[in-house]
Amino acid sequence: MAPSSPWTSSAARDAQAPLDDGRTQASPARALDAATLRSVFCDLLGRPPFAAERERWLGQARHTLIDALLGTEPFWSQWLEEQLYYFFLIDNFRPESERVLAIPADLAAGKLDPREATHRIALSPSFDQRNPGADTFVTVVLEQFTGITVQKNVRELEVGKAIYDGAGGTFLGKLGKRQADIVDIAVHHKAFAETFVAREYERLLGEGAPAKERADWARRFHQTPRDYAALVREWMLSEAWDRRATRKRPVSNRLFARALYVDLLDRAPDEAEARRLRTALDGMSDAGPLRSVFARVLIDSGMVALPEKKSIRDPRAWIAQRFEALLGRTPSAQELDTFAAAFADEACRPATVLYALVTHAEYQLY
């Protein structure tokens, strides 16, 4: 049983209460190595760890890190970014209203749950502008909130459109009279919980949720959306997440944009920097060439704190550290030999080593 934490569900807390007498419970063998540390940060905060965080958490228990990150404002900020991307509320359609911008802080403070946060997003002017007109608006709400295919549920679409235009009607089993009712009815429908849990699981685990568990998670979320973080905790400590960490996942353009700044500059990009790079990368079916171009641009910009070559007294150790920080693993003996031999050549700069690592296909996985 996982130890108690603020993000353990209420049922699980009750079950383990008698054991909670201060003793240290045996935790699974889940000490964070460089790869899992990087993956947990990327999954929960949408970026790799900063250097200080890497130092702080390497070797610590995974659940301790998860408990430290879950429910924080950075965690909810990342959650909000992913929701906005899911609804394609990006670029010109990115919400700027105070109510939407306050979502991470309100979630972290417990003033809001993810269902009400989604409700707030859908009532923003940006959502309306992104989905103009009755047909588009109702279709998107049905598809993205409840997973309903409108072509197979023409009645719901037509009733929704009538409600959008101000006529009354029974939409998803409830009476609605105005556009806002469409959103309200949809987010409180059990199909919303099913759709939300399924896509969130897939976002974090990189695979579809198993049917049986999914139904249970959806039921729990539908009843207590405030316990969503407890669900994430379960997922992040599951065997499925262990498999995902071993298997590795492709780095999305959103993650790449943030990871590159963190890895090379030890800071997150600001919102504009991340958006510009992500938008450009999103414009290509194969973003690989542009990722390489931009990585080299950043390395050659003079902003990356690179040591003078002559100051690197132990090149093998320095190269091994770069592998661990950027690829989340130590180099093999053959890799280390090849890199060290190349580095010994006067034409090879420290920047050349970084080029090799961040433009390689392995850097596109985490």
């Binding site: 690989g288 542009l290 641009v297």
Partner: protein
């Protein structure tokens, strides 16, 4: 089906299909004059009323029609912009979520072309204007096709915009590596063994070409295009430059700006006019290039139309099931096509996929469509 049970339209359709098949086979058996195809998804929802119903809006499309074939009744499917545009490329009309950000299951004509003809990535491109979602047109999840046969997609507005250009202007260009350093870099990259290599869209050579194209294009004028159709204009400009530079076999263009019509009818009509003008520039480049002018076919078709009546915002939505929404007009121009031919019979938007494949000399085996009838001279 017995002859007696056929209605007039079915009969005409069947006859047309037979004639088209004969014409298609005849054209296939001869040496193809068509070496390059430009397929323009004149998308975003564009009614015939604002195109061939208002010829002054689209003088360039009208000119193409006079030198080519005009299909006046192309049946489209209201599957949302994404699903409907995707169906142009797959030849299969399947519902897709409006904001769905996933690839289709059915192979696209780009995959058919690359696999069937053994084309390299530099031979097949898509220029888009709608951002992340439209990169999904590049290839499908189908096990026999997929990424290794995908098209390079470039979203003109996403990539060639003033903001991204400013990043590169601020940070500078990547340092040019001397030969020795480049060699060492290649050795180090080759030594890294942790990645699971998979079939990629680009190989090293084509990836390098794409890199060069991006850097060159960023210094050109594409990033500074402005106006309500700026995203579309960039897509057309990118396609034009790709065509002139790489002479690819297939370039698709997907437009989107006309969807401004939801809240602004006049803006929509303006987008239609400006996109027509941009297509005029594209045609000028094709006609001026000896390697393209006698060997390039151009086909343009909206993914669907728009409602018959204005909405309360004096705009046009797309959801009333009217003929304005479901039937659009398409034009085909090329060295092998008939001239000044107008087809009044119903055809389908999904028929574009097998038509383009046939033109290039391959097939679209999974498409649920047939090549356009009475296309060839």
């Amino acid at each position: 089906m017995s002859f007696e049970s056929m209605n007039r339209r079915t009969f005409l359709g069947a006859t047309a299909a037979t004639l088209a098949l004969s014409a298609g086979l005849g054209a296939q058996s001869a040496e193809r004059k068509t070496k390059h195809v430009v397929l323009i998804g004149f998308a975003g929802g564009v009614r015939t009323r604002e195109t061939f119903g208002s010829p002054s809006n689209v003088p360039n499309l009208v000119s193409l029609a006079k030198e080519g074939v005009l299909y006046k009744r192309v049946k489209s499917s209201n599957l949302g912009h994404y699903g409907a545009a995707l169906s142009l490329f797959t030849g299969v009309a399947e519902p897709r979520g409006i904001r769905e950000n996933g690839r289709g299951e059915e192979p696209t004509l780009f995959e058919y072309a690359r696999k069937g003809l053994g084309l390299a990535a530099k031979d097949v491109w898509i220029a888009t204007s709608g951002g992340a979602q439209q990169t999904n047109y590049s290839y499908s999840t189908h096990a026999d096709y997929g990424e290794r046969y995908g098209a390079n997609t470039v979203d003109g507005d996403g990539l060639f915009n003033a903001e991204f250009k400013s990043i590169l202007e601020t940070l500078g260009r990547p340092k040019k590596l001397d030969e020795r350093e480049a060699d060492l870099l290649a050795k180090m990259r080759a030594a890294i063994g942790g990645a699971d290599p998979k079939a990629a869209l680009n190989n090293a050579e084509s990836a390098a070409q794409v890199e060069r194209f991006i850097l060159e294009e960023l210094t050109g004028g594409t990033a500074s295009l402005r106006g309500p159709n700026a995203a579309d204009a960039k897509a057309i400009r990118v396609a034009r430059n790709l065509l002139v530079l790489f002479k690819p076999r297939l370039v698709a263009i997907v437009l989107q700006s006309a969807d401004i019509a939801h809240g602004n009818f006049n803006g929509y009509a303006d987008v239609v006019r400006q996109n027509d003008a941009a297509i005029g520039d594209l045609m000028k480049a094709i006609r001026a290039d000896p390697a393209l002018r006698d060997s390039t076919a151009v086909i343009a078709c909206p993914e669907f139309g728009r409602d018959r009546d204005l909405n309360s915002r004096r705009g046009l939505d797309h959801g009333d099931g009217s003929e304005d929404l479901e039937f659009v007009s398409a034009v085909a121009w090329g060295p092998e096509f008939a001239r000044n031919r107008v087809i009044e019979d119903d055809v389908r938007a999904v028929d574009l996929c097998p038509t383009v494949c046939q033109l290039l000399g391959t097939t679209a085996p999974r498409a649920k469509a047939k090549a356009l009838p009475r296309l060839y001279a």
